[in-house]
Amino acid sequence: MKRFIFAILVLSMLLVGCGQTNESAAEFDIADWDSVLVAANGQTVNWYMWGGSDSINAYVDNFYGVALKERYNITLNRVPVADAADYINQVLSEKEAGVKNGAVDLMWINGENFFTLKQAEMLYPDWAQAIPNSVLVDWDNPAINRDFGEPVDNLESPWSSAQFQFIYDSARMDADSLPRSYADLAVWACGHPGRFTYIASGPGAFQGTRFVKGALFEISGDAAQWGTIDEALWDEWSPKVWDYFNEFKSCLWREGETYPKDEYELHSLFANNEVDFSITQAIVGAGALIDEGLVPETSRAFVFDNYMIGDFNYVAIPSNASNKAAALVLANLILEPEFQAAQVLPENGFGLGFGIDVTRVSDPAQVAVLEEALQNLGEAATPAEDMAKSLVGDAASPYQAMVEEGWRENVLIGQ
């Protein structure tokens, strides 16, 4: 009988737990920023982000965490998660369960997750261009107002920028012998059988997809034409891209039988001297990875002469977030020029580029800080002029799935 009562107790606790709701958040009007600050005062902001890098975690806590507390009396609760898909699922499950006061206040997301949440209509709308520091963001830039080609629609605000780059080990190779185009790369790979591989293109592995897109750009000779969806253009060029990849498949690591599934698997192959190149998106190149001990200290970043896709990454607020005001304050804080300057410096551990447009910053002192940061990206970074010369925007969003499907069908599985 005791056990029966116990079971009833457990069950009722479960039910109570499900039905529990938090106090409703204080009212605010986003047009009146002071009202946001008042509402955010004393709140805890639950920031869900990928937590796989100790140096990024420390950067977030030491810079944003401290500033939020001191300036706005907001407590930062950084929730480290293994994979962005996990908190996307948390938000989606909350929607299905009808939870009004969600656990997630702010999320660090990329274009794939953004697409998912936009599709599920779970993003808090009409705020990204309303926060004070959004004047520093170049919203006319297609690389900013589209995320993986998908219109941002005022649903997310940029944090930082990134660009596709390769990593090599300067102790193993001369900078002069590096391939500088996809055509070069195929020649290099077959001259060094088994020493090159790339991340498998597919959902959750955007770096691999981006690598394939770069080949599409180079082979078709133009990146800009892929900014809008065009089936005929795709049918014309995609078979040539699959031919390109299939032609040097047998020269790859494990003869293209399998591919690393994410950048960490590739970093480890590179560090273990199984392959000679890795891939990164960081503005500091290999710098942050060297500090984490993931790649050799002599690692350096480089780019091809053209078609290196660059883009921005963003923060978004779920529509059922419990502490929206605090989330807005945090999203605004990360755009402050002082933190934008801090995030690019390799010693601070974040290592991604500016989310803001430096030319929109009016205070000369702040401009100086930003420009000085750019001068101090470290020797493991790709030279700035190389980056700028090779930078192209992403293709329109439907190409993401088309590239992934096509690569799987024609290259991974093959005929």
Binding site: A7, V10, E112, A120, G204, R254, E257, Y259, E274, L412
Partner: protein, 287 residues
């Protein structure tokens, strides 16, 4: 119902109730999603298109369904058969010299999760793993690529090896438990009647342990068929096992792919249930 049965049922009711609610709700929810009932994107119309995609080999996950099914069956069958044979011989061997050390060693292995065992295999056997480094240090190989591909290989050898390492001790314990409760008499009588070692094994030991070993093997098969972590860790990008394929479809950025992921999960569940039912029936016969 006898009073003792009624009491038993009452005692079990809370646990069973919670289990049935949780499991039943998940199954119903999974079934609904597999039929395209995806409220998160406002899809409420039921259809069998996810299942059609799988059977016709089309769609996000469906494209790989048949290959994955074959791969899953290969991994599960090979691991189960090899583990069973290994366990049979190990148990026969250990039964002749009873000691506490062997059962301790076997139990010790059970304490490790499959995932830990998988990571161990990866660190040991990959082309830049510990063994490859030793081989390199002794000059047997020159580059990591010279080391044979034992994990993350197209045929799933690394996965099968991991499962054998985990399931042989498990099945050995099951078999030993049975053997050690039998009297030594059968074997002694057979030996006195002039049976050699092979005859004693075939005519005495094997019939004794077969029912338990068989139902144990079916459980192992069902477990491996539905397991995610080892094939995710030690598998290649293609072909993939069904659980790996199902989770990828479930976490696909396009929420429409969830229906196929759920359909695969339900097919896995169905196959596992059939196998578990077989194991149960075997145990029934044994009793």
């Amino acid at each position: 119902m006898k009073p003792s049965n009624l009491k038993l049922a009452l005692h079990l009711a809370p646990t069973l109730g919670i289990l049935l609610i949780l499991l039943g709700a998940s199954l119903a929810y999974g079934l609904a999603q597999s039929l395209g009932y995806l409220t998160i994107i406002g899809e409420k119309e039921l259809s069998l298109s996810a299942y059609q995609n799988l059977i016709s080999g089309q769609g996000t996950a469906g494209r790989e369904f048949w290959v994955s099914l074959g791969f899953s069956l290969w991994i599960s069958l090979a691991s189960t058969i090899l583990s069973t044979i290994g366990a049979l011989f190990l148990a026969t061997l250990l039964n002749r010299r009873p000691s506490r050390i062997d059962t301790f060693a076997l139990n010790w292995n059970l304490a490790f999760p499959h995932l830990v065992w998988g990571v161990l295999m990866l660190l040991l056997l990959s082309q830049s793993g510990l063994l490859a480094r030793w081989a390199g240090a002794f000059g047997i190989i020159n580059t990591p690529a010279d080391f044979p591909v034992l994990v993350r290989d197209r045929f799933g050898f690394g996965i099968i090896l991991t499962y054998i390492g985990k399931e042989v001790p498990f099945l050995t314990l099951v078999t030993l438990a049975l053997l050690r409760t039998q009297s030594e008499g059968y074997l002694l009588v057979a030996e006195n009647l002039g049976a050699n070692a092979w005859q004693r094994f075939r005519l005495v030991t094997l019939p004794l342990v077969r029912p338990a070993l068989l139902s144990g093997a079916l459980l192992v098969f069902a477990y491996i068929f539905g397991a995610y972590e080892v094939p995710a860790l030690l598998g290649v990008r293609y072909p993939r096992t069904l659980p790996v394929l199902a989770l990828e479809a479930f976490t696909n950025p396009d929420l429409h792919a969830r229906a196929e992921g759920m359909a695969i999960s339900l097919i896995i569940a169905l196959i596992v249930l059939v196998i578990a039912g077989l194991a149960r029936a075997k145990e029934g016969i044994q009793e």
